[in-house]
């Protein structure tokens, strides 16, 4: 991780030292590393207090994470986390707190599953169709919060939380036999949509550690487009400007209202993708036992990854590793898997505090540095004058 921006030809004029500001990178890395260490210490302490050997527990996790089947499981989980985190991060960059990823992805997943079960096009049309359906549903659902914020001043935090509850109810209303679920569901108690067609299955890679989901390609693509849009386009500049100072952006000509709606819709569209890896690679239908909580994990991952595409890639991998390896704890020894949420929770709390401290420290330090450098320049100039 040298520089978040891929160097472009004209910028190559700047020396390498200028682009790779070691101190800044050091500061940026210090906070998450310290947070992870601290949370491991706390978790280890908890295990020790309950009379278990923390090092044994950590080594079980480590061994699982370094085995190839563990790595595939981690990558598959990280793909999902990455998409959820990208959705959250896009909102955060604009100072919007989209808590509604949860509802957005479930609703999007259900519609995608329904369309996938009703339509059977060739795969090269079917797969994009499902992606588009999911993104549209997620985006539209999120747009409700955007419109409420812009025209009625409702905080998106409140409205997206409410929309999560409403989404659950909407799913309950639609996911009944005769509407989204096939009429002849018969003996089983669980209600689910029909199976998506064969052509809806996303490609996957068979490895010796198991099946690696091809959706990881989509996640990487999302990251690249995210980074490019934010840092290289006018739209991205407007978005970052609005996130940094709404008033300054407004005065600079950004249509802040439209920006709010656009960014929350994009966030919702990204959220729409979150459920698809599961649907198109693992469970070919949407039912009541769909995985929940991905939206909230996404928020944590985005916070830890500092809302940058590269940062959230690392934090998605970390969270996926913790979750996947944590599941091994109860089976391979007398360790409660609840220790994993403890680790994740402390990481997030520590990192939020640490980032703010680092941000303030960095700002102050730069002010001092600039002051010192200017004073030195002035002194040098004065000396020259005296010499002359």
């Amino acid at each position: 991780m040298t520089s978040p921006n891929p160097p472009v030809a004209p910028a190559a004029k700047r020396s390498l030292r200028e682009r790779v500001d070691l101190e800044r990178i050091g500061l940026a890395l210090a906070a998450p590393v310290l947070a992870v260490l601290l949370s491991l210490i706390i978790a280890g302490g908890l295990l020790a207090v309950s009379g278990r050997d923390p090092f044994d527990a950590f080594s079980i996790m480590w061994n699982y994470g370094t085995a190839s089947d563990g790595q595939v499981a981690v990558l598959n989980k990280a793909t999902v986390y990455y998409l959820a985190a990208a959705a959250a991060a896009f909102g955060f960059r604009m100072n919007l707190f989209n808590i509604g990823i949860e509802g957005q992805y479930k609703l999007a997943m259900m519609f995608a599953a329904f369309v996938g079960s009703q339509v059977d096009l060739p795969a090269f049309l079917q797969i994009p169709l499902l992606l588009v359906v999911a993104m549209c549903v997620g985006g539209l659902w999120a747009s409700i919060a955007g419109l409420l914020k812009v025209y009625r001043g409702v905080s998106e935090v409140i409205s997206t939380i409410m929309l999560n509850a409403i989404a659950t109810a909407v799913i309950g209303v639609l996911l009944v036999p005769g509407i989204f679920a096939p009429k002849t569901s018969g003996t089983t108690n669980s209600i689910q949509t029909g199976k998506i067609s064969e052509s809806s299955h996303f490609f996957s890679i068979e490895t010796q550690g198991g099946t690696l989901w091809g959706f990881v390609v989509i996640a990487v693509l999302v990251g690249v487009v995210f980074q490019f849009t934010l840092n290289r386009t006018r739209f991205g500049f407007d978005l970052r400007a609005t996130g940094r100072s709404e008033s300054a952006a407004g005065a600079s000509g950004v249509n802040v209202k439209r920006m709010v709606i656009t960014s929350i819709v994009v966030s919702g569209a990204l959220a729409g993708l979150v459920g698809l890896p599961e649907l198109m690679q693992n469970t070919p239908y949407f039912g009541q036992n769909v995985q929940t909580g991905l939206g909230f994990i996404g928020i944590s991952v985005a916070l830890l990854g500092r809302n940058t595409p590269i940062g959230i890639a690392f934090s998605a991998l970390l969270f996926a590793f913790l979750d996947a390896s944590g599941a091994q704890l109860p089976t391979r020894g007398d360790y409660p898997s609840e220790i994993i949420p403890v680790i994740q929770g402390t990481i997030v709390i520590c990192v939020v505090v640490a980032y703010e401290l680092v941000r303030r420290y960095g700002l102050k330090r730069q002010q001092q540095k600039v002051g010192a450098e200017l004073a030195a320049q002035a002194a040098a100039a004065a000396q020259k004058e005296v010499a002359a």
């Binding site: 472009v8 004029k13 290289r232 100072s245 000509g253 700002l363 002010q367 600039v370 450098e373 200017l374």
Partner: protein
């Protein structure tokens, strides 16, 4: 960052002591220290000869120091006496005794406060009296008033000054913060001037003139109107017709903030708007920038009707904007300088090509601005927050001038800017004018207005009520027009004008050294 250093002020008992200084001069920080909201790094405070140390406002109150904030802190749905008793329940209880004490205080100082009135039914001036009474009720013998006249109309200002005299007569000491010359001269017994965080002088209000005070405050010799020739042409650049904006205030009552404002600016002309802050200047600027919706009126720039366009389109059409509050409207403080150079001109070259940004182009151009406009910075990758106010302002001016604007809106361009940068900014505005730019100049500094403008209009309660030729008006007469006392075309006594200009001329001669070296630097940078 040192906000205050080496401040020495002695306030005598039973006087009105004015503390003057420009915005950002450090008045507020000083007041926070006196009121225990902030601790000084060094130095001492003594009350009645006894050294004291405040760590909270409660300590200050215990020593008899009370503060009336610029923004009132009253609960609207409570009555006056409930508001006064709130937080001071231990003093006289919450019943009849408290009410009696309030009446007694109100009579003693002639405040005329009715204890049973609901605060939401009171006007601004009455609320201010409640605030004063609140402080007196807590036993304050030293009152700090933070810009108390900023929210008042002239008659209310006079009434407030009567109250202050009453308080003084009863032995209360008043510290009065303001940057309005004429008010200070009329009410204060002693004046201390603060500039860049330090006391630069004391003045006796009976002997000092407004101009001398202004120079103490600003610290630079002010430009004078006759030191240049007119560059005004006949081509109309900006035409504003019948602007009207009404918006609800904090109480939800519709208030007309701009009423039938019409103005024209020709190429090469600087139009100055004079007015007491809060009379519609900010709204006028925002209306022209497209940041506030209009209720009526049109804005035409160089023949193109901009009334229905958005801010971005107006900027692209050629409006440059130096905002009043550069931290809120002009900069992204945590972004590097080159990103700040893009701000506001993201659709224009060299910042972007099509929908893509051009960081290399923006960086190169930022470097150029830094050199040409003498922005003192170690590089263009540092954040805007690490620059001083003056250098931030120079960056903004450089940015706005880089897109060959047709109209420049300069709202308080030298506010909170150090002396050296101030002269450079004035020179930049003038050279832009020579190149045929139309300039709308808003300033609270009357001498700056008189020095730079070709025409002056006076704004009062959202209306343009008077106009003046800067060559035939004095700051004193302009000041009285700003309070609504004079309307129409104002012209001062020629002798007074001549006198003011003579003072200005002296100043200009004395200061020829510094600015000329600056221009030399600029020329070199241009090559």
């Amino acid at each position: 960052m040192v906000a205050n250093h080496d401040i020495d002020i002695t306030v005598r008992r039973g006087t009105v002591h004015a503390l003057m200084g420009e915005n950002g001069a450090g008045k507020s920080t000083l007041m926070k220290i006196l009121y225990g909201m902030q601790k000084p790094d060094e130095g001492t405070i003594a009350v009645d000869g006894e050294q004291v140390e405040f760590s909270t406002p409660a300590d200050a109150i215990a020593r008899g120091i009370g503060m009336v904030h610029q923004h009132f802190m009253l609960a609207d749905n409570f009555t006056v006496w409930e508001n006064i008793v709130l937080g001071g329940e231990g003093l006289y209880g919450i019943g009849a005794r408290a009410k009696a004490r309030i009446r007694e205080l109100s009579d003693q100082y002639g405040l005329g406060v009715k204890p049973d009135a609901l605060v939401e039914d009171l006007g601004v001036a009455d609320r201010q009296r409640v605030e004063i009474l609140k402080v007196l009720y807590r036993g304050a013998r030293i009152l700090i008033l933070d810009e108390p006249t900023a929210v008042l109309v002239p008659q209310e200002v006079d009434a407030l000054f009567d109250n202050l005299r009453e308080l003084k007569a009863e032995g209360v000491t008043v510290i009065f913060i303001s940057h309005k010359l004429h008010e200070v001269l009329s009410v204060a017994d002693a004046i201390s001037v603060i500039r860049r965080g330090t006391t630069v002088g004391d003045a006796d209000p009976r002997r000092v003139t407004a101009r001398e005070l202004a120079e103490l405050m600003v610290g630079a010799e002010l430009p004078s109107p006759q030191s240049r020739e007119s560059t005004v042409t006949d081509t109309e650049m900006l035409r504003v017709e019948g602007l009207r904006i009404a918006k609800p205030d904090a109480e939800g009552i519709e208030r007309v903030v701009l009423d039938d404002v019409s103005l024209r600016i020709r190429k090469g002309e600087i139009l100055g708007i004079a007015g007491v802050e809060g009379n519609g200047q900010a709204e006028l600027v925002e209306a022209i920038m497209g940041m506030l919706p209009l209720d009526a009126g049109t804005v035409t720039l160089d023949g193109a009707d901009l009334t229905r366009t958005l801010t971005r389109a107006r900027r692209e059409a050629g409006i440059g904007y130096i905002p009043e509050d550069r931290h809120r409207h002009g900069l992204l403080l945590e972004a590097p300088l080159w990103e700040n150079r893009i701000l506001g001109h993201v659709t224009e070259r060299p910042n972007s090509k099509g929908v893509l940004l051009d960081p290399a182009g923006a960086r190169a151009d930022t470097q150029r601005i830094v050199e040409e406009y003498d922005v003192r910075t170690p590089g263009i990758e540092v954040t805007a927050a690490s620059l001083s106010g003056g250098n931030q302002q120079k960056l903004i001016i450089g940015r706005e001038m880089s897109h060959s604007p047709k109209l420049l809106i300069a709202a308080h361009p030298t506010r909170g800017v150090d002396v050296g940068a101030q002269a450079q900014i004035w020179e930049q505005i003038r050279s832009a004018q020579r190149e045929g730019l139309a300039v709308l100049l808003i300033s609270a500094d009357l001498d700056e207005l008189i020095g730079l403008s070709d025409t002056i209009r006076v704004i009062y309660r959202g209306r343009l009520v008077a106009d003046a030729d800067p060559a035939t008006v004095t700051a004193e007469d302009l000041g009285s027009a700003m309070t609504g006392a004079a309307t129409g075309h104002i012209e001062s006594d020629p002798r007074a004008v001549a006198e003011a200009q003579a003072v200005a001329a002296e100043g200009t001669e004395a200061s020829t050294g510094a600015p000329s070296t600056d221009t030399a630097d600029d020329e070199q940078a241009g090559e």
